[in-house]
């Protein structure tokens, strides 16, 4: 499966970073089919995968939607970080890469919700971020680390409440990615990247 994962088209990525509006998102959704992981492909393969085990319910759609809301906010947060002028070269690259992952998560969640016939939450026109407290690169890193750790906890809290186990698996797959982000951000801050054996 990994051999099918391709690097996103640089131009497309750049246009998304500059204009994360609905149109750009839509074209991204249209072209990113090959960027998805094995778990994602299983989910998108059709109702078959979702039909395994217990069926998905309205409650599953709720859970997916709150995850989508948090992912869309994370995309906006990394945008603020990237545009702040506070991030230096290697760290700026991390922020852009991680933002790309969150876009892929949001993309997958949106498609899954649509497939289940749910009503999609859309990105807010305006997010509130504590920009007045973001004065240095480390402030931005700490803020991002807080969001990533929160995301791990949120997915951890989502895994057991899905009625459909394929959805739980997809959430766990995203959780692993967010945990890596968290560790790398802590490392960039000079903190112990993996401070404990369990996440809560």
């Amino acid at each position: 499966m990994t051999s099918r994962i391709q690097t996103p088209d640089a131009g497309l990525t750049a246009s998304l970073q500059n204009a994360p509006d609905r149109e750009a998102r839509r074209s991204f959704l249209g072209q990113s089919g090959l960027l998805l992981s094995g778990a994602a492909i299983a989910l998108l393969a059709g109702r078959d995968a979702l039909a395994k085990g217990k069926p998905s319910t309205a409650s599953d759609v709720n859970v997916l939607n709150s995850a989508l809301g948090a992912e869309l906010e994370a995309i906006a947060a990394y945008q603020v970080g990237a545009e702040s002028g506070l991030l230096q070269k290697p760290v700026l690259h991390l922020a852009v890469t991680f933002q790309g992952h969150h876009k892929e998560h949001a993309d997958l969640l949106a498609k899954t919700i649509a497939k289940l016939g749910g009503q999609l939450v859309s990105a807010k026109a305006q997010y509130s971020f504590p920009v007045e407290t973001l004065k240095t690169q480390n402030d931005v890193l700490r803020f991002a680390a807080m969001l990533e750790k929160g995301a791990v906890s949120a997915y951890l809290g989502a895994v057991p409440v899905f009625n459909n186990r394929e959805l739980a698996k997809a959430a766990a797959s995203i959780l692993g990615d967010e945990a890596m982000h968290w560790a790398i951000l802590r490392n960039a801050l000079g903190e112990d990247p993996v401070p404990s054996a369990f996440m809560s």
Binding site: A58, S59, N62, V63, L64, N65, S66, A67, G69, A70, E73, A74, Y127, S128, M146, L147, K149, G150, A151, S153, A154, L156, G157, A158, V159, P160, V161, S200
Partner: protein, 135 residues
Amino acid sequence: MTTALPALLALALGLAAGGAAADALRAGDPKAGEAVYARCLACHALAYNRTGPKHCGLLGRRAGSVPGFNYSKAMQSTKWVWNPKTLDRFLANPLKAVPGTSMGYDGVKDAQERRDLIAYLEQAGHSEACKPPRE
């Protein structure tokens, strides 16, 4: 030695008491609760609405009553007022306490962690972060 004996006794009594586990809980510690609150930070902030509603002034307000936040019908129709008791019930198992809630989260299963978390929410709800009405 003099302190070890009472401690041992307490342990033995605690074990013997078994079912009275609830009594073994400490009073809520806001500092410990702040660490538990890190789990909520993908969706909540004290001072502004995000994926979830803001938590400033939480204790004492009606469930589902922050203006401008798009609550589920389930939450709006609980008629609950948030206090340590209702929060404990909700946070232990949100989807069971309020079936149909849009807070898709398994909850905080440890009773002491919930107590600490609620103590934090109570204290933080009147902290500096909550003073200037900001948007």
